[in-house]
Amino acid sequence: MSKRITIDPITRLEGHGKIEIFLNDAGDVERAYLQIPEIRGFEKFVEGRPAEEMPQITSRICGVCPGAHHMASTKTLDSLFGVQPTEAARAIRELYYHLHFFEDHILHFYILGGPDFIVGPDADPAERNILGVIGKVGVETGKKVIDIRKRARHMVNEIAGKNVHPVLGLPGGVAKPFPGEQKETLLAFAADAVEFSRFTLDTFNSVVLENKTYLDLILSDTYLHKTYYMGMVDDHSNVEFYDGNVRVIDHDGIEVTQFTPPEYANVIAEHVEPWSYIKFPFLKEIGWKGFVDGKDSGIYRVAPLARLNAAEGMSTPLAQEEYERYFSTLGGKPVHNTLANHWARLVEILYSAEKIKLLSESEELYSPDVRNMDLQTPSEGFGIVEAPRGTLIHHYKTDERGVMTGCNLIVASLGNSAAMCMSIDRAARSLIKGGEVNQGLLNMVEMAFRAYDPCFGCATHSFPGKESFQIHITDPNGKLTGTVVRNGNGKIGIVKQ
């Protein structure tokens, strides 16, 4: 009798998703689906709104990475109004953006994804969270994490008014100069941020990389896909978050294309399935061939793993050292192992910390000249940034007053939507055999999406429904024959109907 397993919802991520696993008569996986159950309709309801409000409206797509939407939108306004930000405004925006990356990546490592490694993939689910992490690494380290995030977010408040839903961006600049009285606080923070990043990498090294079981897990076929990779690069092909061309490489690391924001629709197309509200981007020239990897399939990946693959290096010295260690440990470029995202994310934390330090020492940051008022009549604008979760594209059309008439968003997590479906499918096939299921195995299926640090709220511009975890077992006619639940102490139990 074939069976169906539902994991709803998947946890420790931003947003809602569920996994449907279909087993054949032998209890092996026939096919696993990752479904996203909602849509919020941002692209429609922004029509009629003034374009200058878009950085604040689109930040409401995601309160976890509001900075990414805010900045992509602000850059789209630059393009829409045909204006370049002043040097000071650019420095402030970049500083703001690296602060955002730094604290957001830390959130993922210690709260969302890290528990799988630090507490353990098949640990008691009741402990597999930040409190469990603090239990493992100690209260002092826990306080260190809270403290560095607090200081990063304090700086963001000073620069952008608010952390969650900033008010910084305007076409051609920012709303206010860097507050001079915060300079000493910033300099002290920058130095500590670099140290904290190194400490986090050391922790990853001792807890994960020096544990052969974990290293084998990272390198295993269960979490492997050969796809195209996309990421922003600077003029020297180094990893870049704020501004640059977007580069795509193939499975062997060879550049396929580079594009600027207005060219995005020549490179990227989106596929629609009836069973998920999420859309599935692919490389237009290669085409949509279904949920398969390999060179003939247009599926590409974004976010830390992809960014490090798509670039030739890091522009800061400590991050560059770590970049080299990363590729030499994992067997050279490109790295196709999905779980390597966790390490790549930490390389980026170090890079952001170093950039914060460089920017804090730059003269331009402290200049009061933060607005270029030479605005042109608007009609269409494009803006791209690297969000913590991947390449983020905003595209607006307006009337001559700058009132929105059209909007298209290729949101960061969307870039991994097809790859995540494949990763879930592959992990489920490899881990579930002969109908044997336990919570550790199911969590290891979830780890296949968690490595991407997805934000499904962003991806469908929507957020979740159910907060349950249960597995329904049904017969082929859909009749419920049993339910698998996690009980109070986190153990798995089966309730027969």
């Binding site: 931003e14 976890v64 995030r149 608010k162 709303a175 197309a269 069973w275 700058g402």
Partner: protein, 324 residues
Amino acid sequence: MSKPKVAVSWNSSCGGCDESIVDLEEKILDVAEAVEFVLWPCAMDFKYEQIEALPDEDITVSLINGAIQNTDQEHVVKLLRRKSKIVIAFGSCACYGGVPSLLNLKNLDDSFRVSYTNSPTVINEQGTVPSADSEDDGHALSLPSVYKSVRKLDDVIDVDYFLPGCPPTASMIASALTALLEGKLPERKSVLASNKSLCSSCSRNDSKPETVSIKNLVRIHEVKADPGLCFLAQGIICMGPATRDGCDYPCIKGNMPCTGCLGPFDRTDQGAKMTGTLGGLLEAGDEEAAKKMADGIVDPAGTFYRYSVAASLLGGKREGEENE
């Protein structure tokens, strides 16, 4: 004595309310010490069955954020209502519909068209749209249905208290939790924030115009805003006069006007209040001047009701509307 049980849950929201709880920083460790979390999906692997197994009203308080946009969400908030002594509508989406309820000014079918067929990047020759029931390769799959309009939480369940803000600030959250733990919550149905206007605490209030004096309305990107002067005095629409106080005006400190995220005061329509205020300040000598002034407000609905469409006459739950 056992610790008070706390559930945190989200619906159609952005996760910003959850982030704001994390922004309690080291205080979150004290909170984790004082209470027992029984649900917090974005941070912890707690499960729904555990909630169903609890006796009714066993949870001391449920903090529910996000607007309600589909049947799944309705199901969960009804469950939490049954299991909780106190439900707090957490954040402006739960209190007033929030930014997502701007969708109530549009047609849902248009929204699907824009996303799935008319987008400049979508290749969808068959016109596929996601649907409640579908089949892929012999596998039956389902999705929840989306409501035609976005609701605030108390359209769906009885709500005891309201904590507005987009998001509520960490200090507002700390005050509410302290009042709760000390048994000092105000009268049921209260909004857990001041009932004064934002202007009452704003550092720029001294320069706020009191009489007819605004000759021109300008948009924020068209000018370099003076960092010390009331935005209204500069002809820039600031929602302060129609918006509840309590956030410590961070946007204005960021040199940007208030957009109204804490919503209206008690028994007030935010847009009506703002329109009235502007009416008393705009200097429109003749019909032509008045028309020019009105043209300066390019998006009245989205400006005056940015966070409160679902709580307004404009775009609340529509009469006779089906749930699905």
